[in-house]
């Protein structure tokens, strides 16, 4: 139903109804800003980037293929914009399809006996603050997946479609991101 509404709004926009696009902006500005904000860090830059995503989406709306979900198409535009930004800033990045270092590629349980887990040591609000700090330290491509999964609540299928990668690869990378966040939380405690 939600997807059908999006498709209808896209059709109306293509017929010249700017109000329909305004509805799209209102619908997706919050989730996109939640994602972009955590990817670029600075609030003002995040607002500019999110605006750019909508401007780009509007300009290339004719190239949108209705067989894809409109929301994943928007996230794809945003993701490409952020990757361009990382490249321009020469920030370290890597392809999700390439393995990280072999130790990190192999996920293992690492809770020593008798020691309380990291989440038990903090209150919920404190834990959330620390997760935000840990996210800043996470490599960009893994941070992106973590945010999509937990903040934007995207499915693994949607993420695989956005990144154009196999479902198994995406799932493994999301788990890897979660484990990294946990490890960083442990280091903070």
């Amino acid at each position: 139903m939600k997807e059908e509404q999006d498709q209808a709004l896209v059709k109306r926009t293509l017929r010249g109804d700017k109000k329909a696009f305004e509805m799209i902006v209102r619908k997706y500005q919050q989730p996109l800003l939640n994602y972009v904000g955590r990817m670029v860090g600075e609030r003002e830059m995040a607002l500019d980037f999110t605006q750019d995503v909508f401007v780009r989406a509007y300009a290339s709306l004719r190239s949108y293929e209705p067989r894809f979900k409109f929301s994943t198409w928007l996230y794809k535009i945003a993701s490409n914009l952020i990757i361009d930004h990382w490249r321009k800033k020469k920030l370290p990045t890597f392809s999700l399809s390439e393995p990280l270092d072999p130790e990190e590629d192999c996920l293992t349980l690492d809770v020593p006996d008798g020691e309380p887990g990291v989440s038990r040591k903090f209150e919920l609000a404190e834990l959330r603050l620390r997760i935000e700090t840990a996210l800043e330290k996470l490599p960009g491509p893994l941070r992106e997946l973590f945010v999509w999964r937990h903040v934007n609540e995207l499915s693994y299928e949607e993420m695989a479609e956005i990144k154009d990668l196999p479902l198994g690869t995406i799932k493994n990378r999301v788990f890897q991101a979660k484990e990294m966040v946990r490890r960083l939380l442990q280091e903070m405690s």
Binding site: K18, F21, V25, R43, T50, G117, V118, H150, R182
Partner: protein
């Protein structure tokens, strides 16, 4: 727990683990406090991450986006384009009919007469061109034969090594002439 089991734990937390694997894992968790703590810890982190606070969207954000987008060029449907062309053609045809003062049949027969005249003219031109080509062939053939004989006689006199040298020099001359002409004619890249 083995390395591969961590994926099972995340699938278990997300409720996407197969029923038989879920039973197996739950049996294990019943006897292993360390793994139980590991699951609990990851569940708490995931819960906290899913409730990360949203970024505040400024009230005028949508207006700012809408102010940045240029109106889309409306693309008319195909049937409308065809209809427009057909109408335009009919209008032009009607004007010609009115201006000539002739009937539709008169114009069609006049057009077919002109077409026949063109076909006749083209046939005569082709015949004349063919005659000229035959004549040129007959005249040039002895000349080509004499050239071939002269060239054969020359190559039989000159040493093959010397012939190769001449060829290389000629090739060099052609290449240098080509590049010289390129510069003069400013053909550039």
């Amino acid at each position: 727990m083995k390395c591969s089991k961590i994926n099972d734990i995340y699938d278990y937390i997300e409720g996407s683990l197969a029923p038989e694997r879920t039973q197996e894992l739950e049996r294990h968790l019943g006897t292993c406090p360390s793994c139980r703590r590991a699951v609990e810890d990851r569940r708490l982190v995931a819960g906290a991450a899913s409730g990360l606070p949203p970024f505040a969207v400024p009230e005028d954000f949508t207006d700012q986006v809408m102010a940045r987008i240029a109106p889309l060029k409306i693309k008319p449907p195909v049937w409308l384009i065809i209809l427009a062309f057909a109408s335009a053609w009919l209008a032009v045809a009607s004007v010609i009919l009115l201006a000539s003062g002739k009937s539709v049949l008169g114009i069609i027969s006049g057009a077919s007469h002109s077409l026949w005249e063109y076909v006749k003219g083209a046939a005569v031109f082709t015949a004349k061109a063919a005659t000229l080509l035959t004549l040129a062939g007959k005249t040039l053939r002895p000349l080509a034969e004499a050239c071939y004989k002269g060239f054969s006689a020359l190559t039989s006199i000159i040493d093959p090594g010397f012939q190769a040298l001449i060829l290389v020099l000629a090739l060099g001359l052609v290449v240098s002439l080509f590049f010289g002409m390129r510069k003069k004619l400013s053909l550039g890249e």
